[in-house]
């Protein structure tokens, strides 16, 4: 035996597939270590003789490396590239090492070897399963303030990163005829077969390379090649095919409806210095016609006392570390098994020159040839024996052996103990697909039963034993015509043990771990049963067995068997396990992928946005839109800017970006008829070139939206909606058109974004824009209030509306959106010397409130009728049908006592009410007072020189002149109920 100390003292010369010259340097808790390219962190640590890598979740017990795969419950570490790229709870068995990798152990203080938290292990009799439900009941207040925070701080694993993640993540949608999950023998056979049909194939595997168990099955040959080499050549062949996509380092984590499968491809986690632009991970969202699950099986541990000591690990893991990485997990390796497969590991270790003092087999009389093969290598085989406990603390130092039926104990010194409790088929994805598992009583395992989707399981995950049968099954699943693949010397994987091993039975109180990650022992499961948990779902929640991030890949079956034994019921009667996505933890980054920063959500900007920004406008979010809110000048706060803007509109003119208003073009010979049905107002008689304010109701009679509608031609209307209502109004109209009025010849087209809308409002509006307009007579007579004309402005086409949401004479200039900025600047350039002032949405709100114009969604809340809102005039009295006409007649909607929209004036004109404030009739009544309404809009009106407000008040219109009260934390505010119009009550300014 010769060893290489360069990349670790436990590196066995001539073993494994890594290249000794390709060394990689990394650190573990600050210690400089060397591994080889192709090492996982686990194999590199083991090569350096490091077994202790973490502390357990609850008891802070020293923990090592259990497995060599993604099922790892123990070896969870923290990996940090820099402060913003730190990842806790990384499985050392999955992480590949790279030059400069920085690894820290978790859940220990002050150090891994001396951990104060380990006192929890000493006091563990006081911390049984469910202890926090019972122990910390009193005093009540202490749970939240003392117990919970402290328990949470003491328990747990990694620490959440505090900095925003600077890595990139990507996404790809893909379709294929066949998706194959797993590139072991079964998956590769399926892929070769499926590819031969010309089908589009995606094959993924969570490992960096193909092969699955062939990576450690040393004796196997396939088609005359060593198994591993056959796998490598198969994947090379597949990669070269145009119809095959090979994804390695890619985990299928979720299997959803209609063969939709989520994969995460890890792109840069194994690279020393990934290109800055390279995504760290890519989410693949795959829709497959057929899914082939070739996910293999996971080896179980054995449940015996102190089975969690570092150095106690799965036999297959030891075999992979040896045959793939050339690493011996110990120099004196004991074996504890209940089936044949561990013998293969023992034989490989022995052949590599490792001392294997004993194989302890719980079976009384195993007859397989491999048992004799072990004996012939001078390995002692003790059948009918069990390991009752493992010695040592931070590393296993011995195994205590007894006959399974009791007898004298024998202690064997070891520095590693490998075990096999048998193999659990990986039915996780099958179960996620809503397939129903069935219990294979003969072999004590769950297997795929009833399929819910077009999916097939092949190989070990289907309970298929034997390599030849696995390959045959894979070929058949691919539905292709390829010649048979011939295998020899596969290892037999059936048999094993579930539940507690001898020495950890119901009569004992040893710490025999079932679930390593959540620190659940066999004793805990039995306690749960004694406490009355009879279903596995209850047992799981009481003990947290199988509920850690490893999802109990190694522990579920043991937990179920122990519960079943305690209940004295058959396993299927205790419950079947349902697996849920994700199979292994998925980063938030991968799920979010592109949707970060600017791509988190679309930000919609109007054609004039940059102009507003250049003027220093503050913006307001309205849905996804950015709207100019107000334009503060030097030294102005919001209040003074809004006051200035409001006064300017009434005295000279204001310019306002109304582009976000929803616009729908309604075209067809039945357009007017359609609008008659959708709005309360009459439309048939609206003349071409005229506009009308319309109210749209829901079927129940409540206001849904409002807006001005202009008639451009007999068969063409330009409808406007609220900004926020644009999409839903379009859907509402389309819905009614298609389902209720399909006989009408009319079509709807959204033109919201076709037009930039520049509102120019105020006494000088016409003077400002008239010189820019061609082909339209803008005189009061030719173009009165509420009319629309088509012509040109600044040389480009316009739909020019004369309308007003301010109460001033004004226009809304619609121009094709790309011209919006230029026309805006032209209008502003001409108007500025005349006092034209840009105003934002806040001033717009104040100006409309001064006139008592409502905003749907602010002054209405989905329970307000046109009558309630003082808009009875907008209902066509002679109309016999429109959406909501019957709703308006409902008894509740015509009864007294409805809330009606009114104006409020505070008795002290300087007080501005709070929007949403409640209104009462008598402020001296005891609390809780009877509330009779609430404030919907409230502003300081510089134009009125006082505060103004709108409110919904019960029977409000009958209360005009009454005094009501608004109780606030700082005192009661007295208000007078008024009409809704606060400025220019007669509306004369509209026609100026």
């Amino acid at each position: 035996m010769s060893t290489s100390t360069h990349s670790g003292s436990n590196r066995i010369h001539g073993a494994g597939r890594l290249t000794p010259a390709k060394t990689v340097r990394f650190t573990f808790d600050g210690q400089n270590l060397t591994g080889l390219e192709g090492d996982t962190l686990a194999s590199a640590l083991l090569a350096n003789g490091i077994h202790l890598v973490g502390r357990s979740f609850k008891y802070h017990r020293p923990r090592g490396i259990l497995s060599a795969g993604s099922e790892e419950p123990n070896a969870l570490v923290d990996i940090e590239r820099d402060k913003s790229r730190r990842q806790p709870n990384v499985r050392a068995t999955v992480q590949e090492i790279y030059d400069g990798l920085k690894v820290k152990s978790q859940n220990r203080w002050p150090s891994l070897t001396f951990d104060v938290g380990a006192l929890g292990d000493v006091f563990s009799p006081m911390l049984p399963a469910g202890f926090y439900y019972k122990t910390f009941m009193w005093p009540k207040f202490a749970w939240k303030s003392i117990y919970e925070p402290r328990i949470r701080a003491a328990a747990g694993l990694g620490v959440t990163p505090g900095e925003p993640d600077t890595d990139r993540y990507s996404n790809r949608f893909a379709h294929c005829d066949v998706l194959i999950v797993g590139a072991g023998a079964a998956g590769l056979a399926a892929a070769l077969s499926a590819a031969s049909t010309g089908a589009s194939v995606i094959i993924c595997d969570e490992q960096p390379e193909a092969g699955g168990a062939l990576r450690y099955e040393s004796a196997v040959t396939i088609d005359g090649q060593p198994g591993y080499e056959w796998a490598a050549s198969a994947i090379t062949k597949l990669r070269a095919l145009d119809n095959v996509t090979v994804l390695t380092r890619t985990t299928a984590f979720g299997y959803y409806a209609q063969n939709f499968v989520g994969l995460v491809e890890r792109i840069s986690d194994h690279l020393s210095s990934p290109a800055l632009d390279m995504p760290r991970e890519r989410l693949w969202q795959v829709r497959a016609k057929k899914v082939v699950l070739a996910t293999g099986a996971i080896e179980r541990h054995l449940v015996f006392a102190n089975n969690d000591r570092p150095g106690v690990m799965l036999a297959s893991a030891a075999r992979l570390f040896l045959n793939q990485h050339g690493v011996a997990v110990g120099r004196k390796v004991g074996v504890y098994t209940s089936n044949d497969s561990a013998y293969a590991a023992a034989i490989d270790l022995k052949n590599a020159g490792i001392d294997v003092p004993v194989i302890v087999d719980t079976r009384d009389n195993p007859t397989s040839a491999i048992v004799d093969a072990a004996r012939s290598l001078d390995i002692e085989v003790l059948t009918g024996h069990a390991v009752f406990s493992a010695g040592g603390k931070r590393r296993v130092s011995s195994m205590s052996i007894q006959p399974t039926r009791g007898g004298s104990e024998r202690k064997v010194a070891v520095d590693a103990l490998i075990m096999s409790g048998g193999w659990t088929p990986s039915v996780h994805l099958f179960s996620q697909s809503r397939g129903k598992v069935t219990w294979d009583a003969a072999n004590e395992r769950f297997l795929p039963g009833t399929y819910a989707q077009d999916c097939v399981s092949v190989g070990a995950c289907n309970g298929t034993d034997g390599l030849q049968a696995t390959l045959d099954e894979g070929l058949a699943a691919g539905e292709g015509r390829t010649s048979p693949i011939v295998a020899t010397n596969g290892t037999e994987w059936t048999g094993g043990m579930i539940g507690s091993a001898p020495g950890a039975g119901a009569d004992t109180s040893v710490k025999a771990f079932v679930d390593f990650q959540n620190d659940v022992t066999a004793k805990d499961v039995r306690l749960a049963v004694r406490e009355g948990m009879h279903s596995i779902e209850h047992v799981k929640r009481f003990t947290t067995n199988g509920m850690a991030t490893d999802q109990g890949k190694t522990s579920n079956l043991h937990g179920l068997a122990i519960a079943a034994e305690a209940l004295d019921r058959p396993i299927p009667a205790v419950g079947l396990t349902t697996f849920r996505a994700p199979f292994t933890p998925v980063t938030f980054g991968a799920i979010v992928n592109h949707a970060r920063h600017d791509l988190f959500d679309p930000t919609r900007e109007t054609p004039m946005h940059d102009w507003h920004a250049a003027q220093g406008a503050a913006f307001e979010d309205v849905g996804q839109w950015k709207r100019a809110w107000y334009y503060p000048q030097a030294g102005e706060d919001m209040h003074s800017a809004v006051n200035r803007e409001c006064v300017a509109v009434r005295n000279q003119a204001g310019i306002f970006d109304a582009s976000t208003l929803g616009k729908i073009e309604v075209v067809g010979p039945d357009a007017a008829k359609f609008l008659e049905l959708l709005y309360t107002n009459p439309w048939e008689k609206l003349g071409v070139g005229r506009c009308r304010y319309g109210i749209m109701l829901r079927e129940d009679g409540f206001i849904y939206d409002d807006g001005v509608v202009g008639r451009l031609a007999e068969d063409r209307f330009h409808v406007t909606t609220t900004t926020g209502g644009a999409p839903r109004v379009m859907h509402h109209m389309e819905d009614y058109l298609q389902t209720e009025f399909p006989h009408l010849n009319v079509w709807l087209t959204s033109t919201t974004e076709q037009w930039a809308v520049i509102a120019v409002q105020g006494p000088k509006a016409r003077e400002i824009i008239a010189p820019l307009v061609e082909g339209i007579d803008m005189s009061n007579e030719a173009m009165p209030h509420m009319s629309v004309r088509e012509g040109k402005i600044c040389g480009v086409p316009t739909r020019l509306f004369r309308m007003s949401f301010t109460g001033e004479s004004g226009y809304e200039i619609n121009v094709p959106a790309d011209y919006g900025r230029a026309v805006w600047e032209a209008v502003y350039g001409r108007g500025k010397p005349l006092g034209l002032t840009p105003y934002g949405t806040e001033a717009m709100h104040v100006l409309r409130a001064e006139k008592g114009y409502i905003i749907v969604g602010q002054d209405t809340d989905g329970t307000v009728t046109p009558h309630d809102a003082g808009l009875t005039w907008a209902i066509g009295k002679n109309k016999t049908d429109y959406v909501g006409i019957r709703g308006l007649l409902r008894r509740d909607l015509v009864a007294n006592g409805r809330k009606q929209l009114v104006g409020l004036k505070t008795v002290d004109p300087t007080i501005v009410l709070e929007e949403g404030a409640q209104i009462v009739a008598n402020p001296n009544q005891p609390v809780p007072m009877t509330m009779i309404g609430h404030v919907t809009s409230s502003y300081w009106s510089e134009n009125c020189g006082r505060s103004i407000a709108l409110a919904l008040v019960i029977d409000g219109t009958k209360r005009l002149g009454e005094t009501l009260y608004v109780p606030m934390p700082n005192g009661v505010i007295e208000v007078e109920v008024t009409g809704m119009v606060f400025f220019d009550e007669k509306g004369e300014r509209l026609n100026g």
Partner: protein, 184 residues
């Protein structure tokens, strides 16, 4: 059994540089666009007016010179033409029942071009863009990330993405971001 070596060619810019874009994302020229609506009985007459056979099958298009008609629904087409097109005037002459609305400024066109074009679009569009499912000439209303788009494949490796103008920043940024990830 003798294994055939499958040597694949490696472009010098792609060796170790997965961020080398294999597709470009550029703005389409300004265009004339019309949303055309009509019932089945007017399709023949409108086809005559337009000088192309309006497609009547889902996911299909018809083109004639610079003019294209994209099927968007049983009674809906998106007509795209050069910026100086007469299509609006042509349709105004059509006597059959229809609705034609100018949406030239409502939409923005973005071109994704190059070997990785389909993968770039698939970064945010869940449709099957294989040539079998989405051949040259296919078009459909669909989604890209969080927005609605119209997607038109006008060559094997070229897509036109049409979206509403206020979503153009998002669409462009999304496609550029996706293109960083695609090196085929």
């Amino acid at each position: 059994m003798v294994e055939l070596a499958h040597a694949t060619r490696l472009h010098p810019l792609q060796a170790g540089n997965p961020d080398v874009a294999s597709a470009s994302v550029t703005l389409a020229d300004n265009a004339t666009r019309v949303s055309l609506r009509s019932r089945a009985d007017a399709v023949a007459a409108l086809s005559g007016t337009l000088g192309l056979a309006l497609p009547t099958k889902p996911k299909t298009t018809a083109t004639s010179g610079s003019r294209a008609a994209l099927w968007l629904g049983p009674d809906e087409w998106l007509i795209i033409d050069d910026v100086d097109s007469s299509v609006a005037a042509d349709l105004a002459e059509a006597k059959v029942l229809h609705s034609a609305v100018d949406i030239s400024h409502r939409n923005v066109g973005i071109i994704v071009d190059g070997r990785g074009a389909a993968a770039v679009v698939n970064g945010g569009c869940p449709q099957d863009l294989s040539l079998k499912a989405f051949p040259v000439g296919a078009a459909s209303r669909t989604v890209l990330g969080k927005i609605e788009i119209v997607l038109w494949r006008n060559a094997e490796n070229r897509f036109r993405v049409e979206c509403w103008r206020s979503f153009a920043n998002y669409a462009y940024a999304f496609l550029r971001e996706s293109a960083r990830d695609v090196a085929v």
